[in-house]
């Protein structure tokens, strides 16, 4: 039920039919943006694609946050407590800044 791949919007459809073209490392396909009508989707945005429909807009900041968390996994319990559990709250910590891989 779950094969969904991140893709980059490269073009929006001209008409109002919620169509766009998405690209995944050089493979292009039309996707339907009908499930993301409440978001503003622009070329360059990344979306999660499942059966030709965009399911969700991918949050770059959440992804970067996750990478930061993963990078410090295994460091002292105290540091982990300070960060309070992998971004459950909205606080973003500033220690150990490390760019997310791209």
């Amino acid at each position: 039920m779950c094969l969904a791949i991140p893709g980059r919007i490269v073009a929006l459809g001209a008409d109002s039919h919620n169509q766009a073209v998405v690209e995944v490392v050089g493979v292009r396909r039309k996707v339907d943006l009908g499930l993301l009508q409440e978001e503003s989707i622009q070329p360059g945005d990344w979306v999660l694609i499942h059966v030709g429909f965009a399911m969700s807009k991918i949050s770059e900041s959440e992804a970067a946050d996750q990478m930061r968390t993963l990078a410090i996994l295994g460091e002292s319990e105290a540091a982990i407590q300070e960060i309070r559990g992998y971004g459950l709250e909205d606080e973003k910590y500033s220690s150990n800044e490390r760019g997310a891989g791209s």
Partner: protein, 346 residues
């Protein structure tokens, strides 16, 4: 692995599509029905081509039929596949293709210009592969009975002196070499059918691999234990056949397997594994560890071989298995597919 003479082990009541897909079912048909009746007790493991002694010369002979939809696709067409496919089967058995005969089964109603385009493609491919088309046969069948055209090519060639490739010469510690990126052809065909509405800069890799094989054999000589061109069923099927024939394990290192970006993208989108996807211009070789480095260099410095890699090695355990290891220490088995790889959404 000798096959008992005349003992038919194929018990299925009818032929299904899977029997032609090049995987487990195909093997059952060949080993269970054709081999006992046609090849007799003296035959060994089945290879891409048969070698026959004629007056002191080793001659290789092979045949293959080509059924492709659509006939034309980015990077080639059925005609080129028909020539290169047979040239390659001879090449990986250690032989230079010398001559070929061609059979056409044509569907009534096929436009002549379509046929002409394929014949031209074949002429060009034969010239590029330096093989002579010596003759052939044509049949025409009723409309609806041949999917436009079926082409069969039968090729003969001379075995390169000193080359002997057989699964039982494979030893633990041997290296697995791959001539270049995988998955291009199969993904091209899948996308060219148009049903998936996807576009990508991918084309079939159809070509003669003989120049690369020749380079390899020149540099590694008897260190080349086994070769195969991973066509239908992909690298996974070819290596599983080897593993079963030699009883050893084949360990592949995932991060070394070359896959072009768009092929990877299409496979991720469709839930396919590049290891199961057909190739028409690549080959696998098992080479003794002492010669593997030199062999790789030889491939890389031959035109068309720049992307050759060592992708794995032969081990003792677990027997008759092919598995892939990841760089973080995870492992998974790679088995032969039942039929053709199918896109999935789950």
């Amino acid at each position: 692995m000798a096959i008992s003479a005349n003992k038919i082990k194929f018990r299925e009541p009818q032929i299904e599509m899977a029997h032609g897909a090049g995987g487990i079912a195909s093997r059952r048909l060949v080993e269970g029905l054709f081999a006992p009746l046609l090849f007799g007790a003296a035959s060994g493991p089945l290879g891409d081509a048969a070698h026959i002694q004629l007056n002191g010369t080793r001659i290789a002979v092979t045949t293959d039929s080509f059924v492709v939809k659509p006939l034309r696709f980015p990077g080639g067409s059925i005609g080129e596949l028909a020539i290169n496919g047979t040239v390659n089967d001879l090449a990986v058995s250690g032989a230079r293709a010398e001559a070929m005969v061609v059979t056409f089964v044509l569907e009534a109603g096929l436009p002549t210009d379509v046929l002409e385009a394929e014949v031209r493609a074949m002429a060009l491919a034969a010239e590029q592969a330096d093989v002579r088309i010596a003759g052939g046969d044509t049949k025409v069948v009723e409309h609806g009975k041949a999917d436009n055209m079926y082409i069969t090519t039968t090729g003969i060639g001379r075995v390169i002196p000193g080359v002997s490739v057989r699964p039982d010469s494979v030893r633990p510690g041997d290296h697995i070499l791959l001539s270049g990126p995988i998955g291009d052809h199969g993904v091209t065909i899948l996308l060219a059918r148009g049903e998936l509405d996807m576009e990508a800069e991918i084309q079939s890799d159809t070509r003669s691999v003989f120049p690369l094989v020749e380079s390899l054999v020149e540099s590694a000589g008897t260190g080349v234990r086994w070769m195969r061109d991973p066509t239908r069923g992909g690298v996974a099927t070819s290596l599983n056949e080897l593993a079963r024939d030699c009883g050893l394990a084949i360990a592949l290192f995932e991060q070394t397997i070359p896959v072009r970006d768009p092929v990877r993208g299409a496979c991720e989108l469709l839930g396919l594994d590049p290891l199961h996807i057909a190739n028409e211009g690549q080959f696998l070789a098992v080479v003794a560890p002492e010669q593997a480095g030199r062999a790789l260099e030889a491939l890389r410095s031959t035109p068309g071989g720049a992307e050759a890699r060592i992708i794995g090695e032969v081990r003792e355990q677990p027997p008759a298995c092919v598995f892939v290891t990841t760089s973080y220490g995870g492992a998974r088995l790679v088995d032969m597919l039942v039929g053709d790889p199918l896109p999935r959404i789950c």
